[in-house]
Amino acid sequence: MGATLINLPKRGLFAFASALLVLLSGCAQIPLGAPAPSFDIIEKAKASRTAPVAVGQFQIVPGVSAEIDKGLNVRSNTVFSPIEGSFAQYLRQTAIADLQASGLYDTASPTTLTGLLTVSSLDVPADTGQAALGARFVLTRAGKTIYEKELKANASWESSFIGAVAIPTGINQYTSLYHKLVGILLDDPDYRSANPK
């Protein structure tokens, strides 16, 4: 529990903070926060007037290095997914969280959404940070593909030369792309017409 660490006496906190500083400039393993629904995406989902879907398999696109699914190197630290150590599974859980909170997730639906992770990158230099996430989404009904498209989400922001500032900011920017990508899917007119309510 973070509380235990934060309640350390100041001298202890300083020692811990120093250690943390080393961690952040060294080789820490940093998990993304657990996916939680986004209000903005719930609003998009409700406006999409689409039917509930089941969510099937998500994995990396064939031919792409498995490394893009496992971790991101950020200033010698490794950022990884808390869900099966897979960013594809993190995207799946984000989609489920958003669709479920919007009333558009139904495990019994005849329509199934699957995804192939195509892009996952995070670059946190001292000047401008950049992140990208891409996936090929496929919607099938009764064994027939009714929608298939690769969608991408990007972010860029003012970074910092101080790792303790730049790394958490970069992680937040990268993580927000998962909701952004789900939002792009729900906004896509082709998705909406393929799966009307």
């Binding site: 973070g2 943390l20 939680a36 303790a164 958490p168 937040n172």
Partner: protein
């Protein structure tokens, strides 16, 4: 570690790295007791979505860190008959966004100078927080928006206590106290809106 990084991302703990830091919750926004809220005649169920943001970007780790506290506070507000994370019968939806907006972007730099002088040159930085409630009574209703503001002052090194702050024993207590006070202010405001019945 996971939760600690959530706080780090909010900017507060980064300041700890520079040496002895003390945390003060601003006195302008006070906790409003539940008994002061204007209770609806017939409380309705609501779906709650909470998100912590850092400079307007979702911070999944900090969201998880504070989520339980926010949910429990809203459950205890008596403004709703039930608080759920899934859609409810009438489509009532409450979004709570707590955005950490550093009022001084050079906070780390200030702390760094304090560290270089072994704390002799003290400094103070302030983190601002904006709590935005968006309440949609039914799926077809107009959104009611309420906003409350708060701040946490962090003093590093040899510097007098801020006159507008109550000293907290830890960064965690400061964040949790600020959250409770700012949310109570926004909930009280919501309870008094003519559209909230």
């Amino acid at each position: 570690m996971n939760k600690l990084l959530g706080l780090l991302a909010s900017g507060l703990l980064a300041l700890n790295m520079t040496g002895c830091a003390s945390f003060y919750v601003d006195t302008a926004t006070k906790e409003i007791p539940v008994t002061a809220y204007k209770k609806p005649a017939s409380p309705k169920p609501v779906q709650l979505v909470f998100e912590f943001q850092t400079k307007g970007v979702a911070n999944a780790t900090a969201t998880k860190y504070l989520s339980e506290q926010v949910v429990e506070q809203i459950k205890g507000s008596s403004l709703f008959s039930e608080v759920k994370d899934a859609p409810v019968a009438d489509g009532a939806l409450l979004s709570v966004v707590l955005n950490n907006v550093p009022l001084e972007d050079d906070a780390f730099g200030k702390g760094f100078v304090t560290g270089l002088t072994f704390g002799l040159a003290g400094s103070q930085v302030t983190d601002g927080y904006v709590c935005t409630l968006k309440y949609i009574p039914t799926s077809q209703a107009t959104t009611i928006s309420k906003t409350a503001r708060h701040a946490i002052h962090t003093v590093i090194g040899a510097k007098e206590d801020p006159v507008n702050g109550v000293k907290m024993e830890s960064a965690e207590l400061a964040v949790r106290t600020m959250t409770r006070q700012i949310l109570s202010t926004a909930l009280d405001d919501l309870s008094r809106d003519d559209g909230f019945k």
